[in-house]
């Protein structure tokens, strides 16, 4: 099987986000950027499938600025084979990303595309499902476990209330959830090796995809701040405070 793994460069999950004073967005100047944590899980899963012999090639793709190359390098160091950077400084919405990915799928003909369930910057949770619809492929979202089953893929999904298993006819789309695996750290020799792996640069124009945004940002504001309350010295005090507040 050939697998395509889209990876997004996002603000590192440890960074405390600040809204810009002019309310146009969040301040991304000089903040640490990393691979979207869910995408690390996707890359890891693809690499494990390759190690197990079910996957022959892993292609990683990122839509973003020149620096998204570093994100692709990280994926290559984890074990992906080659990368595609679709370079743009514009903010590309999930629908635009999905349309670009559909073009990459047409060029590359993968059997499986594994995406993150959600990018931790826009928190959209859309791209994989949109890509599935555009390609008319089946989807297994929020994957907890993947099992190849002949020409099908069994996906156990994290759903409200428990777990659900679906069987997908390949080619298919999978989006991953947190419990699928624990991503590895790339070793130094693998980081060195990754420097020699190929990354092809493309542009949205070359794919003939219109990525102009459908949503215009009116304002970006700080959420209401919650004030810290009081410390109580013991359980008895806690209970009496809760009773007074009518909470218990």
């Amino acid at each position: 099987m050939k697998v395509l793994v889209p990876v997004k460069r996002v603000i590192d999950y440890n960074v405390k986000v600040r809204v810009k004073p002019d309310k146009t967005g969040v301040d991304l100047a000089n903040v640490k950027m990393s691979m979207n944590p869910f995408d690390e899980i996707s890359v890891e899963e693809a690499v494990r499938m390759k190690e197990a012999g079910t996957v022959t090639e892993i292609v990683v793709v990122s839509v973003g600025p020149q620096q998204a190359q570093e994100t692709l390098r990280t994926a290559l160091a984890m074990g992906a084979d080659r990368g595609i950077l679709i370079k743009t400084d514009a903010t590309v919405e999930p629908l635009g990303v999905a349309k670009l990915l559909a073009k990459v799928v047409a060029d590359e003909s993968p059997d499986l595309v594994i995406l993150g369930k959600q990018a931790i910057d826009d928190d959209s949770n859309q791209t994989g499902q949109m890509l599935a619809a555009l390609l008319d492929w089946p989807q297994g979202t929020f994957a907890f476990k993947l099992e190849k089953d002949g020409d099908k893929l069994k996906v156990t999904r994290e759903v409200d209330g428990g777990l659900q298993t679906v069987s997908l006819t390949l080619p298919a789309i999978v989006t991953v959830d947190l419990r699928l695996n624990e991503p590895r750290y790339a070793s130094l020799p693998n980081i060195m090796k990754a420097k020699k792996k190929e990354i092809v640069e493309k542009t949205p124009e070359e794919y003939g995809v219109d990525i102009s945004p459908r949503l215009t940002v009116v304002t970006v504001t700080e959420p209401p701040v919650r004030q810290a309350g009081e410390k109580v010295e013991d359980v008895a005090t806690l209970v009496s405070k809760l009773k007074t507040a009518g909470a218990v």
Binding site: Y13, V17, V19, V26, E93, P94, L95, A98, Q118, I120, D121, D122, D123, S124, N125, Q126, T127, Q129, A132, A133, L134, W137, P138, Q139, G140, T141, E158, V159, D160, G161, G162, L163, Q164, T165, V166, S167, L168, A172, D177, L178, R214, L215, T216, V217, V218, T219, V220, P223, R226, A228, G229, K231, V232, D234, V235, L238, V239, L242, A247, V248
Partner: protein, 309 residues
């Protein structure tokens, strides 16, 4: 204008989340129709027809819709959208699975997990784990929207909608339901619960989680939640995870036990009315949002609390 709301239901019962989505849809404006699709649809229709503000209930039953897969729901809803300006659905795992497929088919950009409807093209939604709130205007002709239930009041039950049958789409689809393993519990559903007791990594094992968190929750009639660390370690089932990438809760009382208060966790519970934190580290960030903070060893404090209530 007309809006289609996709109802969520389990085992023949209409979920409370649907009532909240109807409120959001009413704010959008126009007629609100409620689509009840899938297994047990017929049983759900009487309750659906009573939801205040609903004009018409569309009932779609059929083997292909049994588990509301993304593929079958896309096939059902996309043709219906010829008659609607917007489709609203709860931001549950079902809604999140289905809505983007519909949006892509309609060639529109979805609005995920909105917390307010400003007008029929302007919506508010959290980004960056709720550390920023974005108001956006959509230029698309039709809107596809998932709704964060905690941000809207539930619609009442004073309606009397008419009922219409819609044909289920013809299969077969390229995805098939195989099985499910649902957590059985008599406790209230997490996202709609009035009280929530959550445990974190500090519990140390599933046994301790069950020994300490569960009796306290039962005493309070509360739902049980957990941090990601507790879920990852197997102390609690996956769908107990509260946070940015788990469930969003806003109960009247939220008790966080042995949870540090990472931004990803706060994203899921900081709109709770009263927050209690029990943590032995007085510097834990959870105390910055807690109304009542108890610096204590949970292994002593929690049994004492359960006893005292």
């Amino acid at each position: 204008m007309a809006v289609l709301v996709i109802a969520e239901h389990h085992h023949g019962a209409l979920s409370d989340a649907t009532h909240k989505v109807v409120t959001a849809a009413a704010k959008f404006g126009g007629d609100v129709d409620l689509l009840v699709a899938g297994e047990h649809a017929a049983e759900v229709v009487p309750a659906a027809a009573k939801v205040s503000g609903v004009r018409k209930v569309l009932k779609a039953e059929g083997e292909s819709l049994r588990k509301q897969t993304g593929e079958s729901m896309e096939a059902l809803v996309v043709p219906l959208m010829a008659n609607y300006d917007a489709v609203f659905i709860a931001a549950s795992t079902t809604g999140k699975n289905i809505a983007p497929r519909i949006a892509a088919r309609l060639d529109v950009m979805q609005l995920s997990e909105i917390i307010d409807v400003v007008d029929s093209s302007t919506f508010t939604r959290p980004i960056y784990a709720g550390n920023a709130i974005m108001t956006v205007k959509s230029s698309d002709a039709k809107k596809v929207i998932t709704v964060r239930g905690t941000a809207f009041e539930a619609a009442g039950n004073e309606g009397s909608a008419s009922v219409e049958d819609v044909a289920a789409p013809e299969g077969p689809f390229k995805s098939e339901f195989v099985s499910e393993e649902m957590v059985k519990s008599d406790r209230p559903e997490l996202t709609g619960a009035k009280r929530v007791v959550s445990g974190g990594r500090a519990l140390g094992s599933a046994d301790e989680f069950n020994r300490l968190i569960v009796p306290l929750a039962d005493k309070l009639g509360a739902a049980v939640g957990a941090s990601r660390a507790a879920v990852d370690a197997g102390y609690a089932p996956n769908d107990y995870q509260v946070g940015q990438t788990g469930k969003i809760v806003a109960p009247e009382l939220y008790i966080a036990i042995g949870i540090s208060g990472a931004i990803q966790h706060l994203a899921g519970m900081k709109d709770s009315k009263i927050i209690v934190a029990i943590n032995k580290d007085e510097e834990a960030p959870i105390f910055q949002v807690a109304d009542y903070g108890l610096v204590a060893d949970l292994f002593n404090a929690v049994p004492e609390l359960t006893e005292a209530l």
